[in-house]
């Protein structure tokens, strides 16, 4: 079965994020007052597997071994079968 996978990688709470700080300051230059800007990296890919649990386990392994650094990152994994459609715009 083919699965669509999305991994969202973000800095742990409390970690200084210079990219987000710079974006916040630039928005202020445009006259917007915003706060608590955060940035997230999103990786999307497809993978064959027997079932969702098996695929998720492999993706957790990828995150721990390469995609994330556990000292500074949190990650969130979404695994959806390729033929799954609930009718929402995300599944189109």
């Amino acid at each position: 079965m083919l699965f669509n996978i999305e991994v969202k990688i973000s800095l742990k709470d409390g970690m200084l994020n210079p990219e987000a700080t710079t974006i916040e300051r630039s928005l202020e230059l445009l006259g917007y007052t915003v706060s608590n800007v955060k940035t997230t990296d999103i990786l999307k890919f497809q993978m064959e597997g027997e079932d969702r649990d098996e695929v998720r386990e492999a993706v957790v392994d990828m995150c721990e071994r390469l995609l994330c650094n556990p000292v500074i990152h949190n990650y969130k994994i979404t695994v959806i079968p390729q033929d799954y459609a609930c009718g929402c715009s995300d599944c189109e």
Partner: protein, 214 residues
Amino acid sequence: MKIGVIRFPGTNCDRDVAQAIELAGATPEFIWWSEEDLTDYDGIVIPGGFSYGDYLRAGAMASITPVIDGIKSLVKEEKPVLGICNGAQILGEIGLVPGVFITNEHPKFNCEWTPLKVTTNRTPFTKAFKKGDIIDIPIAHAEGRFYTDNIDLLKDQDQIVLQFAEKNPNGSMEAITGVCDESGLVCAMMPHPERAAEAILGSDDGLNFFKGFL
């Protein structure tokens, strides 16, 4: 005395490091990332650069290449390993030294001479100095801000090697810019000692780091 200089796609300080090793009195030899058997070498330098374009994170891709297994084997044999700049980031990613080197507090590429305090001289690379000595070596990085989630352990185990002495140009935790493993044989530093290996360059304080292999 044969010292291996590791090359990844994107490494760019390899020849400067090789010259500094020669000046120190050892023989440098370049090693490609795909080599796994490093048993012939008496020590290793991972030089600076932008391995694999620093994609994902600085040092992340390099940390899973075959040569890393060879380096881990040498560490078990208690041979010295020095990671400089991108090499320091790689050693952090592997977990051979504690902590990580992440984007500077002000996301700017900093290239400047930096007075450094030698915090410990128990590593081979800093044994020529006295604890507390101030030395002059340049930095050149945009991602060198040291961070660890266990600073107390580093202090307890005397694993802080170098600290910025006058100002903290990247926002590193406690101005730390060089750390080592528990044994002191594996050392990671953001400043470039090879760029301060001859008086004609402005300082030769960096040469002592390479003499540490002898």
